[in-house]
C-alpha cells in the first residue's frame, strides 16, 4: 500500500538561503512521525510546502500514491491535511465558534455541539462561546486542534505544539494524539524537544541545514544520540551553578500590584520577590501570565504613580522612576523581543550599543564619540563571540542567536548590580543558548543579582538557584531548585497549588 504522503527530492530556496534541499519523506496512516531539527533547520519551510502555504522549487508531492500540486492551504485541506501552527492562526477578536465558522460549514448551533462532542471524545474541552483573546495559550491550542479535527483530516501537522504548554497539558495533548493515531490518523509532529519525541513518536526524520541527516526509530537511540544527529556535534554539557556565599539584597518587590487597563494584558496581584548578589532567581510560567507586565514593572517601562517602595533596587525605592533612572542605579535589562525593544533593527550594532552604554564614555559634551562607540562595540562582538561583519552591521541582519548574544553582551558589559533577562534563549540555536546560559552563571559567580524570566523549564532548572512561578498575575513562593521537581513547578504553572 502506498504511504499516505510521500515527498521526493523537494527543494525550496529563499533568496540566497537553501531552506530545504532534496528532502525525501514518507508518512503512513496511523503513525506519529517526528520532524526533528534546530531553529533554522528547515522544519517550518517543509511544513509550509506540505500545507500549500509555499510551493516547492523542485521535487514531487504524492498523496495516496497520486502526484498532487498544492497551491494553497485550501487545496491541502481538501485532500485532508490539517495544520496547527506554532504561532496560532486564530483571530483574537472573534469567539471560538466564529473562528471555526470561518472554515467549517454549518450553523453556529451545530458547530458548538460538534466542538463539545469532539472535546469530550479527545479531552479537548473548551467553551465554544468564549472570546479567543480571553483564552489561555493551552486553550487556544485546543481550539486550533479542534478546528482541524472538524474537517476530518487524514494527516494532522503540529508545529512545535508543546513549546507553549505546561508539563501537565503536554501529557494531556499526548493522550489526545495517541487516541487520534488509534483512529488511523497520521500525525506529523515537529519539535526540537528530544525526550518528547522519544516518548510519543514511531518514526523520526532529522533535518540539519535544510537536508535530511537521519531517519530512525526514536525509541531506539538515546536523547544524546538524537541531539548529536540534530546539531551535528555532541551536546554542550549543562552548567549547573555551585552554591556559594550570597551578597546583599539588590532587587526587591514587595506586595506589588498592578491593575492593567489593557483587555489583552494581565494584572499583577501582590507580587513579592527578593534577589541577592550572587544568585539567579528564575521566574517560571507560561507566557501570557503576566511575564511582560512583570518585566516592564521591574525595568521601569511601567513606572507607578504611587507606592514607590514596592520596587527597590540596591535598597532604594524606585517604583516611581522611569527606565533611564533605574538604569543609573545599576539595573540592566534584556527584553524578550530582540527586534524592536532589545535593539533597533535598522540601526548599526554600534548605534545600538550606544542606546544603553552611552554612560560609558561613548558620549562627550552631548556629542557621540564615534571612536569610543566603535571600540565598545568591537569589544562586545569579540568577547561574546557574535558572528557578524563588524560594528557597522545592521542589527536586523544578525541571526536571532547572534543578536541575542550581542544584546546580552552589551548589558553585561555595563557591569550591572541587577540584570533582568526575559526569555534569554527564545529562537536561539542550541549552541548559542548553551553559551548564553554559561555567561549568566559566570556573571552570578562574579556577584551579580540576576532574574531570568523563561518558559523553558529545563533551562531554569539548569541555571537557577531559586524559582518562583507566575500564574495569572500571581507569583508563587520561592523554592530552592535543589529541593523541588519539574512536577511541583508544573503544578504551580497551571495554578493547581495553593
Amino acid at each position: 500500500m502506498a504511504p499516505l504522503l510521500q515527498l521526493s527530492g523537494v527543494s525550496k530556496r529563499y533568496g540566497g538561503v537553501q531552506a530545504n534541499a532534496g528532502i525525501d519523506l514518507s508518512v503512513d496512516a496511523g503513525s506519529i512521525h517526528a520532524i526533528l531539527g534546530e531553529n533554522g533547520a528547515g522544519k517550518s519551510t517543509l511544513m509550509k510546502l506540505i500545507y500549500g502555504v509555499e510551493r516547492p522549487d523542485e521535487g514531487q508531492v504524492l498523496w495516496q500514491g497520486q502526484a498532487v500540486t498544492l497551491s494553497s492551504p485550501s487545496d491541502a485541506r481538501r485532500l485532508g491535511i490539517g495544520m496547527v501552527f506554532q504561532h496560532f492562526s486564530l483571530f483574537e477578536t472573534l469567539s471560538v465558534v466564529q473562528n471555526m465558522a470561518l472554515i467549517v460549514p454549518g450553523s453556529k448551533g451545530e458547530l458548538a455541539t460538534r466542538i463539545r462532542d469532539l472535546g469530550a471524545a479527545f479531552g479537548l474541552s473548551v467553551d465554544p462561546q468564549a472570546m479567543v483573546h480571553a483564552l489561555s495559550v493551552g486553550e487556544r491550542q485546543r481550539v486550533e486542534i479542534i478546528r482541524c479535527l472538524l474537517l476530518n483530516p487524514a494527516l494532522l501537522i503540529l508545529d512545535e505544539p508543546t513549546s507553549v504548554l505546561p508539563p501537565q497539558s503536554v501529557a494531556l495533548l499526548f493522550d489526545t494524539l495517541r487516541a487520534l493515531r488509534a483512529k488511523g490518523m497520521a500525525i506529523l509532529f515537529i519539535s526540537h524537544k528530544l525526550e518528547e519525541i522519544r516518548e510519543l513518536c514511531d518514526t523520526a526524520t532529522i533535518l540539519r541545514q535544510g537536508r535530511v541527516t537521519a531517519r530512525l526509530d526514536p525509541r531506539q537511540g538515546t536523547a544524546h544520540d538524537l541531539a548529536t544527529l540534530m546539531i551535528g556535534r555532541p551536546m554542550p554539557p549543562p552548567v549547573h551553578p555551585t552554591p556559594h556565599g550570597l551578597g546583599e539584597e539588590r532587587l526587591a518587590l514587595s506586595n506589588l500590584s498592578f491593575a492593567n487597563d489593557d483587555p489583552f494584558g494581565v494584572s499583577l496581584t501582590d507580587v513579592s520577590l527578593s534577589v541577592r548578589g550572587g544568585e539567579i532567581l528564575g521566574i517560571a510560567g507560561i507566557s501570557g501570565n503576566g511575564q511582560q507586565e512583570l518585566a516592564a514593572l521591574i525595568s521601569g517601562e511601567i513606572a507607578m504613580k504611587s507606592g514607590a517602595g514596592a520596587v527597590q533596587v540596591m535598597g532604594q525605592p524606585v517604583g516611581d522612576l522611569g527606565a533611564a533612572a533605574r538604569r543609573l542605579r545599576g539595573l540592566a535589562f534584556v527584553p524578550e523581543d530582540r527586534l524592536g525593544r532589545g535593539a533597533v533593527p535598522d540601526m548599526s550594532l554600534a548605534d545600538n550599543a550606544l542606546l544603553t552604554a552611552h554612560g560609558r564614555g561613548l558620549v562627550q559634551n552631548g556629542f557621540i564619540n564615534r571612536k569610543a562607540e566603535r571600540a565598545f562595540t568591537a569589544d562586545c562582538i569579540a568577547r561574546f563571540d557574535v558572528r557578524t561583519s563588524g560594528p557597522q552591521a545592521e542589527a536586523g541582519s544578525l541571526s536571532g542567536g547572534n543578536l541575542q548574544k550581542f544584546i546580552m553582551g552589551r548589558e553585561m558589559m555595563l557591569d550591572p548590580n541587577v540584570l533582568l533577562v526575559a526569555q534569554p534563549t527564545w529562537g536561539v540555536d542550541i549552541g548559542a543558548a548553551a553559551d548564553i546560559r554559561q555567561r549568566l552563571v559566570a556573571m552570578r559567580n562574579a556577584g551579580a543579582a540576576i532574574v531570568v524570566i523563561s518558559e523553558e523549564i529545563d533551562e531554569l532548572f539548569e541555571i537557577c538557584d531559586r524559582l518562583q512561578v507566575l500564574h495569572k498575575g500571581h507569583l508563587s513562593p520561592s523554592v530552592d531548585v535543589a529541593a523541588t521537581s519539574v512536577e511541583q513547578i508544573g503544578t504551580y504553572m497551571i495554578g493547581a497549588a495553593a
Binding site: Y51, V53, S72, P73, S74, R77, M83, F85, F88, S89, L90, F91, E92, T93, L94, Q98, A101, L102, I103, H133, D261, D262, P263, F264
Partner: protein, 303 residues
Amino acid sequence: MTILAFILAGTLAAATPLLLAALGELITERAGVLNLGLEGMMALGAAVGFVVTYTTHSHLLGFGVAALAGIALSLVFATLALGFMANQVAAGLAIGVLGQGLSSLIGKPLESQTLDAPGKWAVPVLADLPVIGPLFDQDVVVYLTFGLAVAIWAVLNHSKLGLIIRAVGENPHAARAIGFRVLRIRLVAVAFGGALAGMAGAYASTIYTPLWADGMIAGRGWIAVALVVFGTWAAGRIAFGALLFGALSLGGLIAQAAGVALPSQLLASLPYAVTIVMLAVISSNRRRMRLNTVASLGQPFAG
C-alpha cells in the same frame, strides 16, 4: 416651523452624506486598508453625479455614474496600495488630491447651476406623530442610508462574510494560512468604499444642496474618516457621530439666523470641533479601542 422641528427634519439629511461615506470606509478599514482618499472620491462623485443628473434629469443615473466614478478612483488607489504595496497613507492622500482636481475640472462648466431636488416621502402614521413627526418625512436616500447602516452592522457581526472581512483585517497572514484570498477581499472592500463615497458625494451635490459650487464637499470626507476611527469601527457609533454632526451644523445655521454675536466662521467650524471632541471622548475608553481596532490597518500585505 419650530426650531426643534427644523433640526429634526434636517438632521438626518445633513448626516446622510457623512454616514454613507463613513460606512464605505468602515468596510474598507475593517478589511485592513486605510483609504484617506475619501474627500477626493466624494468630490469626484459630487461633480460626476451633478453633471449626469443635470444632463439626463435622472437622479438614479446620477447616483449610478457617481458610484462608478468612486469605484474607478478607488481602484487607482488599490492599484498603488494593494498592487504595488505603496504606503497607504501617501497613496490615499494622492488619490484625494487627484479626485478634488478632477471634481473642479468636471464641474467647471456648470458652476452655480441648480437642480430640482427629488420629492420627499413621508412614512404613513409615523410622519404625523407629534414632535418627532418631521424625522419621518425625508427623501428616499436617507431611509436607504440608515437602512444600510443597520445592514452593515448585521453583516459585520452576524454573517460569515462579516467574519471573513474582520479576519482579513485582524490578521491577514493567518487568514491566508487558512486559505482566504486576502488581496482579493481587500480589493472588493476598497471598491465598495469607493462606490459609497461616490454616492455620498452625489447626494451632497444633487439632493442635499442641489447646486454646483467648486469645493462643495468642504471637508466632509475627512469628517467621515474621523467618524470611522473615533466611532471605533462600529456602525452604531459611527451613525451617532454622523447625526451629531448633522444636528450641530443645523444648530449653527439657526444660531446665525437668530443673530448670535459670534463670527459665522466660528459657528460654521463648531460642528467639526464638537463632533471630534465627542467622539474622542467615546474612543478614549482604552478597552473598547483595543477590542475594536483593526490590527493590520494600513499595513501592506504581500501575497
